[in-house]
């Protein structure tokens, strides 16, 4: 401490005769050196075990309250903003599980993700402008179809002027059982419509529409596997998804080149973009690289990664649109 040291004015060993009719207080100056700040001292300088126990109990209660608060906040987030991360209790309970594998074997339960089944088809409605076919969503759709029994339907809204026939068959041939909607776990309804921004509606009562292809992709991906429990990895995935849609798909040539360089260096560190597992980041970036037409001119690591993506076989629906 850069302060002047002053010598004590009087000696510290002065003994005073104190009357016995008063309480004895310990020396304040002497105590500063002896006891730790967090522990309350008794008159004789010792800590009462009862107070200690009480303090421990209070700490425990506070901790529990904070936990509860976090859990409630997490829940509120999932209710009000459907694309928010899973609530804390869920993510902490999932933390012991291994993240999703390439085949998306991660534990997901439609009931917990989409709300309780009321005995009717859970139908995800996606409004898309025919000028911008959502490649990522088509890929995710085909993966969803492998995982669940999905009823896929394509409609044209009266506001869309003309829709090319390939867009009408973008979800593949009609399911043989499509006459019985009850037999499906999930509905995937794609409506070609004159909308400025891609839009997803699920439960009109409890949820506002989700806008933007990236956000809808996050929602759909969560039906396949939970987000990585490690917040750092989850953020990395999110940031790659945003990079893909904002800079690869919509960005200028300069931005695209920069992203490709970034992809190249990220892929130099590992086989996939975010961590050791194939994730939404790979799907989004792959589709956007393909869409921007820069697949052939990309650097070596990216080329290798594109090959590995293609080997997974999820991307045939997207490739249909690029021919």
């Amino acid at each position: 401490m850069s302060m002047y040291q002053v010598k004590p004015v009087c000696g510290s060993h002065i003994t005073t005769d104190l009357p016995t009719c008063m309480y004895n207080l310990p020396n304040v100056h002497a105590q500063q050196r002896n006891s730790s700040t967090s522990e309350h001292a008794l008159q004789n300088g010792e800590v009462d075990p009862a107070v200690k126990a009480l303090e421990a109990r209070q700490d425990e209660i506070m901790r529990k309250l904070y936990e509860l608060k976090a859990a409630v906040e997490g829940l509120a987030k999932t209710v009000s903003t459907p694309d928010a991360d899973l609530d804390l209790t869920v993510s902490s309970s999932l933390s012991s599980q291994s993240p999703a594998s390439i085949t998306f074997k991660g534990v997901t339960d439609l009931d917990t993700l989409l709300g309780k089944d009321l005995g009717a088809l859970r139908d995800i409605v996606i409004n898309v402008n025919p000028a911008q076919p959502p490649l990522t969503l088509l890929v995710l759709h085909s993966v969803l179809c492998q995982r669940y029994r999905v009823l896929s339907t394509v409609h044209v809204h009266s506001s869309a002027a003309s829709v090319p026939p390939q867009l009408l068959s973008c979800l593949g041939p009609r399911h043989a059982d499509s006459y019985a909607r009850q037999m499906f776990q999930l509905g995937f309804t794609l409506i070609w419509k004159d909308v400025p921004k891609l839009q997803m509606k699920f439960s009109v009562q409890n949820m506002c529409p989700v806008e933007g292809e990236a956000n809808v992709a996050r929602f759909l991906f969560k039906l396949l596997s939970p987000y990585p429990s490690d917040p750092a990895v989850a953020t990395l995935v999110d940031s790659w998804v945003d990079t893909a849609f904002f800079q690869l798909a919509e960005g200028s040539a300069k931005e695209r080149a920069a992203v490709l360089r970034a992809l190249n260096s990220a892929l130099g560190r590992g086989p996939w973009l975010a961590g050791p597992e194939f994730s939404l980041a790979d799907i989004a970036c792959y589709c956007c690289v393909l869409q921007s037409g820069s697949a052939s001119s990309s650097p070596a690591n990216v080329q290798r990664w594109i090959k590995s993506c293609e080997n997974l076989g999820h991307f045939s629906p997207a490739k249909l649109f690029l021919k």
Binding site: A120, H155, V156, S158, K201
Partner: protein, 531 residues
């Protein structure tokens, strides 16, 4: 005159029960008489000044046309008046929509259906003062012949449909005079709701409009509505004919009530009584059994329901479809919904001016639909309602408010005004409805909705005589009464299904109107049998 009035009053007192209408008529007659007198006076005056009227053979009331002569005169349509016709001398027949005299000139707005144009008579070397006066005195809604020069105008005429030209009248003749006092003013009848109240202007109520339907039908709104309705019929016929359907005619006087027994009109039929057909259902089905494969019919349908709502009529036009299918009744749904979508598309593409015209008076959102049409199942609909907080049983029918709510929910999620609700509970459908093969609680039946209101109700029909008998017994229907119906399925019947649409409802809901009487030319309801 005063004596006459006194007499009139005395008469009225005598007929204590005479209605307002009578009084009105009498007053009108008196007014007309007054006017006639006035006109006679005017004529006298005119005669006195006849000598200096140089234009007297350029105007007048022409003799009643009894086809005395066949003129080769070409009459131009108002809608064809465009700047290209500028400075041509043309003949035209139209109604006087409004007239406004201003010193030495008189402005007329001439109307043909929804089109109108401004015309002008001004004192000059071709028209005399008397001619202008004559033009100004022509009553509204009279039919006139005019010869006029088409002239371009500098400033657009905002109030007319032909905004770039006006007519400078050379000759003007009255062909048919309207009574000076109209029971309702056309401008009042097309004024949007609410606007009149603010500005203190009159609006015409529904009953007055319907009582004077001939005049009400002349309004741009009514013209547009019924032109659109004709379009619906045309598109319906065209689409189905293209799909290989055959149009059939079915009898409207029948011996037994077709659907249940209630709600039928009984008519006397020589020594016995007969019923008016509630739907062509049985006859459509018989045609299917007679190998017509796919049939439709357009014709009146009668319902003796004493319900005075915005969407019930006792007589309306039914557009009915019935078809044999191969394996699944969804083939029928697909056919019907595709027909509806073609109609909606045709209306959207070819009737935009009519739709705009109606929207001016009755604003509504444009009709939205999906192609192919959205099909939801009844249980899904119930789940959506449950989610919205509606409590109702699984096998209960949808009430009208729930129907509307469901319509709103579906619109919110799918943004469509037209959808199909499939798989209704068997308990709420008629006995001839085919039960669901997997769940006896449900049936192969469907309703179609426009803007949350039901427009079509249909089903796969039971085509097996034995099952039909069982179902009828289950519904406690007297087998004797429906013997002919059941018998028609005894000699081999293809699986079939169909449904019936109400033309008036389709028009009303497509345009977003709020009363079915607006889309029925001469509506029949429990309280109205005239005109």
């Amino acid at each position: 005159m005063t004596k006459e009035e006194a007499q009139g009053a005395a008469e009225e007192e005598q007929q204590a029960q005479s209605k307002k209408g009578l009084k009105k008529q009498q007053k009108e007659a008196e007014k007309a008489a007054k006017k006639a007198e006035k006109q006679a006076k005017l004529a006298d005056e005119q005669q006195s000044t006849e000598e200096d009227d140089f234009a007297k053979d350029r105007y007048g009331v022409s003799a009643m046309i009894q086809s005395q002569q066949k003129l080769d005169r070409v009459l131009v349509r108002i809608q064809d008046l465009s700047p290209e016709k500028a400075d041509q001398l043309i003949w035209l027949r139209a109604r006087v929509h409004t007239s406004r005299a201003k010193g030495k000139q008189c402005f007329l707005v001439l109307r043909q259906q929804q089109f109108n144009v401004q015309a002008l008579v001004a004192v000059g070397d071709r028209a005399s003062k008397q001619m202008v006066k004559f033009a100004a005195n022509i009553t509204k809604e009279s039919i006139i012949d005019v010869e006029a020069f088409v002239r371009k105008v500098e400033q657009k005429i905002e109030s007319c449909s032909q905004q770039d030209v006006e007519l400078h009248i050379e000759r003007i003749f009255v062909i048919s005079q309207a009574e000076p006092r109209l029971p309702l003013q056309l401008e009042d009848a097309v004024r949007p709701d609410g606007e009149g109240e603010e500005e203190g202007r009159a609006t015409v109520n529904q009953d007055t409009k319907l009582d004077n339907r001939v005049i009400d039908l002349r309004t741009t709104t009514s013209q547009a509505i019924f032109r659109l309705q004709s379009g619906v019929c045309l598109l319906f016929r065209d689409t189905l004919t293209k799909k290989g359907f055959v149009e059939i005619q079915t009898p409207k006087i029948i011996s037994a009530a077709s659907e249940g027994g209630a709600n039928v009109f009984t008519v006397s039929y020589f020594k016995t009584s007969a019923y008016l057909a509630q739907s062509p259902q049985l006859y459509k089905q018989m045609c299917i059994c007679a190998d017509f494969d796919k049939v439709f019919c357009v014709g009146p349908v009668f319902r003796a329901e004493d319900s005075n709502t915005h969407r019930h009529l006792t007589e309306f036009v039914g557009l009915d479809i019935e078809m044999a299918f191969s394996y699944h009744y969804h083939e029928v749904i697909d056919s019907i919904t595709d027909t509806m979508v073609q109609i909606f598309k045709g209306l959207r593409d070819n009737f935009q001016t009519e739709i705009q015209m109606v929207n001016k008076q009755f604003p509504s959102e444009p009709f939205k639909f999906l192609e192919p049409t959205l099909r939801l199942e009844y249980t899904e609909g119930l789940a959506m309602l449950h989610e919205a907080g509606v409590e109702m049983g699984d096998e209960e029918d949808l009430s009208t408010p729930n129907e509307k709510l469901l319509g709103r929910l579906v619109k919110e999620k799918y943004d469509t005004d037209f959808y199909v609700l499939d798989k209704y509970p068997l308990a709420v459908r008629p006995f001839y409805t085919m039960p669901d093969p997997n769940n006896p609680k449900y049936s192969n039946s469907y309703d179609m909705f426009m803007r949350g209101e039901e427009i079509l109700s249909g089903a796969q029909r039971v085509h097996d005589a034995q099952l039909l008998t069982d179902r009828a017994v289950h519904h406690q229907i007297d087998l004797e009464k429906i013997k002919a119906y059941i018998d028609s399925f005894r000699y081999g019947a293809p699986p079939h299904g169909g449904g019936g649409i109400g033309l008036e409802r389709v028009c009303m809901l497509y345009l977003g109107l709020h009363n079915i009487r607006q889309t029925s030319m001469f509506p029949r309801d429990p309280k109205r049998l005239t005109p």
